[in-house]
Amino acid sequence: MSRRHTIGFLTAAAVVVTSLAMPPWAWARYGSSGSETNSFTTGILATPFLTAVCGTGLLKSTVNLSWTLTSSWADGYEIRYGPSASNPSVTVVPSGGRTTQTYSTPNLTGIGDYFFTVTGTRSLWRSPVSNQVSKNIFAIIGLGTCS
């Protein structure tokens, strides 16, 4: 018996022995698979850019605000202003939704600077706060000036 035949015989024998010795669960199983990937991302509201001008008219202490559009999926804006730069005391949500880009304050009172910011909104989501702008108000008993 040649060496080649000997190896062949031993291999076959090993296969038989292995097959008999292997428990059923050790046999190779046929399987197949495939996958699908879906990516979901939430948006980030774009930051509006705010500008402010004083209202016109005699003894008027109003400020007219205007800003750039936020993201197309926003539902509106939130304006905050007040005498404190770090903690504006007044919050206003202009009516009209995302396409409303102006707001005029009522006559502001007091003496000193007023600070203004705006954010885009979608439900509870807020865009980063816009640039902060300020106007100097000099107003007593509802009459005053803005500069």
Binding site: W25, W27, Y30, N38, T41, T42, S123
Partner: protein, 242 residues
């Protein structure tokens, strides 16, 4: 002497020739032997083919509170052997990378406000859930895999905050002989989702797989030989998924 030898040799040749001829006639017998038997052994196949129907119902980027979207995957079973089919669900999630306090979009710790992710199928109609859990609690938190070990060959080891894997959700108790299962991945963002979810992301990978049922009767940790479709089927030997 030499001539005699030559005559003897020729004589022998003639005798051999005659003998051969007669023997040839004698041996011209009709004979037959049985036709050999041919046995062909062909291994069966287990085959699932995926067709991305594509198309998600709505944009899956720039999603906002109150938005919903769903995407479908059609998986066709076409093996010559019947097979059991199961679904693996993998989710990798990330938060807004901008400075600030943000939350991963998929966040089982906040089941009310996180992205509500569900997986279901038609033919058969099944909702896939963690047994005894919420539909939004897919997977167990684990290490984000690299390209070699992820379900879709993508490298999730960088760029993602947390990863979850849920394996072997049984599609149907009975083995498939053929047919197409359409899986749907749905996501909805609660209308009152807090601002901290803004800018987050979640990748959902569905991987359908099948294994032969012949000589591999189903047996699961939950449900034994009568497991529940849609629930995890952790195999009990001798049953195995691969």
């Amino acid at each position: 002497m030499r001539r005699k030898r030559l005559q003897l040799a020729l004589g022998l040749v003639a005798v051999v020739a005659i003998a051969s001829t007669s023997v040839g006639v004698t041996l011209a017998l009709y004979s037959s032997k049985p036709t050999g038997e041919t046995n062909t052994f062909a291994a069966g196949t287990v085959s699932v083919t995926n067709v991305l129907t594509g198309a998600c119902s709505a944009a899956t980027n720039n999603m906002a509170p109150g938005d919903t979207a769903s995407c479908t995957l059609a998986t066709t079973y076409a093996g010559t052997l019947s097979g059991y089919m199961a679904l693996d669900v993998f989710i990798a999630t990330q938060k807004n990378l901008a400075p600030g306090s943000w939350t991963d979009l998929y966040n089982p710790a906040d089941a009310t406000n996180e992205a509500q992710i569900t997986v279901s199928s038609t033919t058969p109609t099944v909702s896939y859930v963690v047994a005894g859990g919420s539909p939004t609690s897919f997977g167990t938190l684990g290490t984000c895999p690299g390209a070699v070990t992820s379900l879709d060959g993508h490298d999730y080891s960088t760029g993602y905050d947390k990863c979850y894997l849920l394996s072997n959700l049984l599609v149907q108790t009975a083995a498939f002989a053929s047919g197409t299962v359409t899986f749907t991945t749905s996501i909805s963002l609660p209308a009152a989702e807090p601002n901290t979810y803004q800018g987050g992301s979640a990748v959902v990978v569905l991987a359908a797989h099948a294994v032969q049922s012949k000589n591999n009767a189903i047996n699961c940790t939950a449900g034994g030989t009568s497991p529940t479709a849609g629930a995890v089927c952790a195999p009990v030997a001798p049953f195995a998924w691969s």
